[in-house]
């Protein structure tokens, strides 16, 4: 008997914990509120099943605990009941699956007006690159990366010249404008993850992966690395600042482009050679 009561309290405790928990998700700050909705839906359906199954179990424990004179029912199968249960479950599962697939379809199809951002990850840090006037990012190679070319942009690619380089781990985004995050890693797996935006994707060396979202709350957010990447994994943080249009434009103006950098580099080099000649 005590067992039944304790199990009942466990179930009750779980439900109460869920209702009163101070630990729950942060407010969503992107267009992926739909993910929260699917979670909530799954919670209701799944939680309902969990509570129902466990309460039924507790009921059985109370009702049918051992008595010398009782004989259990002998009924190997009940075709009808099994069929009903199978089909209800199938329907429930399908109802959970369908919204999931619909939102996944949105997740992998990026809107046309999304701004592409190259997120480059290494052990253990981030840096970012935005397309310049032409709206396109230049191609890259890991082997091109050096002090003069921190992103490894292919020098013969015309699209790369005006790329805006953000060589810090904080990136600014424009509010209400979709961004396509292009993830790239130069060494091991990483994952650019902002809990408030919900979405995440691994950065895999050797290929470029992507996902998109549309920030819809201004503010500052912390970027976490969500794929184990070596001993520095837990300390691999970055930042995102979501700004309104005007602030964002101002910030963008201050950033350096690749051609700026090359020009500066050239100046520096000529200066050095002049110095050496003197």
């Amino acid at each position: 008997m005590h067992a039944g009561i304790i199990f009942f309290l466990v179930i009750l405790g779980s439900v109460l914990f869920h209702i009163f928990t101070p630990w729950y998700w942060t407010d969503v700050a992107s267009n992926w509120g739909g993910m929260d909705d699917t979670i909530t839906l799954t919670f209701w359906v799944g939680g309902g099943v969990f509570v129902a199954v466990c309460l039924f179990m507790v009921y059985c424990v109370f009702k049918f605990s051992y008595k010398e004179d009782r004989k259990a029912e002998y009924k190997p199968e009940d075709k009808k009941l099994e069929r009903i249960l199978t089909w209800t479950t199938t329907l429930g599962v399908a109802a959970l699956l369908a919204p999931g697939l619909i939102i996944w379809n949105q997740f992998i199809s990026v809107p046309k007006n999304a701004i592409e951002i190259d997120v480059m990850a290494w052990q253990w840090g981030w840096q970012y690159r935005l397309p310049g006037e032409d709206g396109k990012l230049g191609t890259t190679q890991v082997t091109n990366i050096n002090d003069n070319n921190p992103f490894g942009i292919n020098l013969d690619d015309p699209y790369g010249k005006d790329d805006v380089m953000v060589q810090t781990d904080v990136i600014n985004l424009e509010n209400n404008r979709p961004v396509k995050i292009l993830l790239r890693s130069v060494d091991v797996l990483h994952n650019w993850y902002v809990p408030q935006f919900r979405a995440k994707m691994d950065a895999v060396p050797g290929i470029v992966t992507y996902y998109w979202f549309e920030p819809n709350k201004t503010g500052e957010y912390e970027v976490l690395c969500a794929e184990y990447c070596g001993v520095g994994h837990y300390a691999m943080r970055g930042g995102v600042v979501v700004q309104d249009n005007q602030d964002y434009e101002n910030w963008l103006q201050e950033q350096e482009t690749f051609s700026d950098l090359m020009a500066k580099q050239k100046l520096l080099e000529t200066g050095e050679t002049k110095l050496a000649k003197k």
């Binding site: 179990m57 059985c60 009924k75 797996l189």
Partner: protein, 612 residues
């Protein structure tokens, strides 16, 4: 067919015994079971201590050996988890621990628990002990190979543990061993550690293959007379299907481990693209890290079911015996096990939704994954429907079963979160995943193991384990484990990523500190509670209550051996003949509330027993 094992006398003896128990005036041919088609197995009987207890060919002894060694590695895994929880809950007390240590402990804990503890325990331990007894065989079909299998496992464990003592320590790349980080500087144990891990896994796979062939052929080809597949206890079904999965899934792990070793030693680029490290381009290029993930999870997902299916099977038997009721919907249960097993080969990439694989795979794998939820749910329904109108003995074994149902349903439901591709995106790589898989393939199978230990200990030792200690053990473990993993899901909702050595002080993560302290406390208690079992076993071996024959009044064959504990060869002079399934409990009209599998139909002609 051959005369290898031919012992004509025994065959004659068996063939002549086609009609048994033809008394009581009933027509004798309802008891007819066709004669033996397999000759009697000739066994090698050990004489010395070494051949009897060390290099022993008796499956039961090998099972116990597997059990003990797996438990030993499991305790190491447990201690590692304590260290991890110490760091997460009370970092100020764990100042001796660096991030390197932490990641090494995480990795070794994961690998030990999944492969060297759970897999070895369920298939090697319970499989060896129970399969021959439950299908009515004298032993496994290839006893010598079976012995070699255990000793390969022994060497594999040795190699694994040796990695603690090599320069650089064991690998710290997470139990998934993802390249490139697994073999690059910056990850602990990227030299010798990962090498030894790969070697150990390859040895484990080789050893397991030998054992697995034994289990499969014993079930398929060495059943006793009257034992059809559809009369086997679900325990055998679970272990059998899990073994099939293992035979087909371990190859992928073997190939992955081999290729990664080559990347590591020879500098090939199977999984290694061009890599820039510390300003230098390494001599790799063109490889694909995602390929390893596919290989790993092609093994890894069936591996989940390699652990889960034996647990499903065993729990069905335990519930049925202790609820004094037949398992509800036996055929559904069998087909669910087989179906889950088959489907498990088509769902692997649901572990990789955010890995950067081809995004279209999301649709395929979400669908196949959620299809698996249906047979799994059916199994849950059938377990609780078995309790319904039963006559439930609320002993320790039943408590573990109930604990299993609660934790498994909980973990199964969160599995639907993670299998459904969109829901997975915010939750993957967070503590939600940790909580989910610990609940569903850590705690739930552990409940089954414990229940099985309390259930079958009388068969192994001829004595009962102490009920009172058992109940303490159960409640501490169940309540403790539940309060570890249930709240942990909510850390995942907050967005706390897994494999973080320290949380730092992100505003929304500070609230996790308190919970982490609580979880760590619970983890210490649960871990310590396991030593109650060890004490209980030692105590029972000395002063436990003798159990006698068939103490639980079970129907299945393993309790019907002429001697308890069973001797080498299991069945004495004559193999048992089976007439029914293993679940004839509480048959209306029967004298007792159980009819054993060997009871001939003529003995129970006046009852309403169903034909199986």
């Amino acid at each position: 067919m051959s005369e290898d094992y031919n012992d004509n006398k025994t065959i004659q003896a068996q063939s002549s015994e086609t009609i048994s128990g033809s008394g009581s005036g009933v027509s004798p041919d309802i008891d007819y079971v066709r004669p033996a088609e397999i000759p009697e197995q000739d066994l090698y009987h050990g004489h010395s201590f070494i051949t009897k207890w060390v290099f022993c060919q008796d499956a039961k002894v090998i099972g116990v050996q597997y059990f003990l060694l797996a438990t030993f590695t499991g305790i190491i895994g447990l201690i590692l988890s304590w260290l991890m929880r110490l760091q997460l809950g009370f970092p100020e007390l764990a100042s001796f621990m660096t991030a390197e240590h932490y990641y090494q402990f995480v990795t070794m804990h994961g690998m030990i628990m999944v492969v060297y503890f759970l897999t070895a325990l369920f298939l090697g331990g319970f499989g060896n002990f129970l399969i021959p007894l439950m299908v009515g065989a004298r032993d496994m079909v290839f006893p010598y190979l079976n012995m070699v299998s255990f000793w390969m496992f022994f060497i594999a464990v040795g190699v694994l543990l040796a990695s603690f003592f090599v320069p650089g320590g064991p690998t710290g790349s997470g139990w998934t061993l993802y390249p490139p980080q697994a073999i690059l500087e910056g990850t602990p144990g990227s030299g010798m550690g990962i090498m030894l891990m790969c070697i150990s896994l390859i040895l484990f796979v080789a050893g397991f293959t030998m054992g697995g062939l034994n289990y499969l052929i014993t079930v398929l080809q060495a059943r006793t007379r009257g034992m059809t597949l559809m009369r086997m206890p679900l325990t055998v079904w679970g272990i059998f299907t899990a073994t099939v999965l293992a035979m087909l899934a371990f190859p992928a792990l073997l190939v992955g481990a081999l290729m990664m070793s080559l990347d590591n030693i020879l500098g090939t680029s199977f999984f290694m693209p061009t890599i820039l490290k510390a300003g230098e381009v390494l001599e790799y290029g063109g490889g694909s890290p995602i390929l390893f993930q596919h290989l790993f999870w092609f093994f890894g997902h069936p591996e989940v079911y390699i652990v889960a299916l034996p647990a499903f099977g065993i729990i069905s038997d335990l519930i049925s015996v202790h609820a004094r009721k037949n398992i509800f919907g036996y055929r559904m249960m069998v087909w669910a096990i087989v179906g889950i097993g088959a489907l498990s080969f088509f769902v692997w990439a649901h572990h990789m939704y955010v890995s950067g694989m081809n995004p279209w795979f999301g649709f395929f794998f979400a669908t196949t994954t959620l299809i698996i939820a249906v047979p799994t749910a059916m199994k849950v329904y059938n377990w609780i429907l078995t309790l319904w109108r039963g006559n439930i003995r609320l002993n320790t074994v039943m408590l573990w079963c109930l604990g299993f149902i609660v934790t498994f349903v909980n973990g199964g439901i969160t599995g639907i979160f993670l299998g459904n591709v969109t829901v997975d995106v915010p939750l993957s790589d967070t503590y939600f995943v940790i909580a989910h898989f610990h609940m569903v393939m850590g705690i739930a199978p552990l409940m089954v193991i414990m229940g099985a230990v309390y259930h079958w200990f009388p068969l192994v030792a001829g004595r009962f384990l102490d009920e009172k200690l058992g109940k303490w053990h159960f409640w501490l473990t169940f309540l403790g484990a539940y309060s570890i993993y249930f709240p942990m899901h909510y850390l995942g909702f907050i967005g706390v990523p897994r494999r973080y050595f320290e949380m730092y002080d992100s505003p929304y993560m500070t609230s996790a500190v308190g919970m982490n302290e609580f979880i760590s406390m619970a983890a210490f208690i649960v871990g310590a509670a396991q030593f109650i079992l060890i004490y209980n076993i030692i105590r029972a071996l000395k002063i436990g209550k003798p159990s006698g024959h068939n103490p639980w009044k079970a129907c299945s064959l393993e309790w019907l051996t002429p001697s308890v504990p069973p001797e080498h060869g299991n069945w004495g002079e004559r193999l048992p003949v089976v007439h029914r399934w293993a679940y004839d409990y509480s048959v209306p009209g029967a004298k007792e509330d159980f009819i054993t599998q060997t009871t001939p139909p003529s003995d129970v002609a006046n009852t309403e027993v169903e034909k199986t």
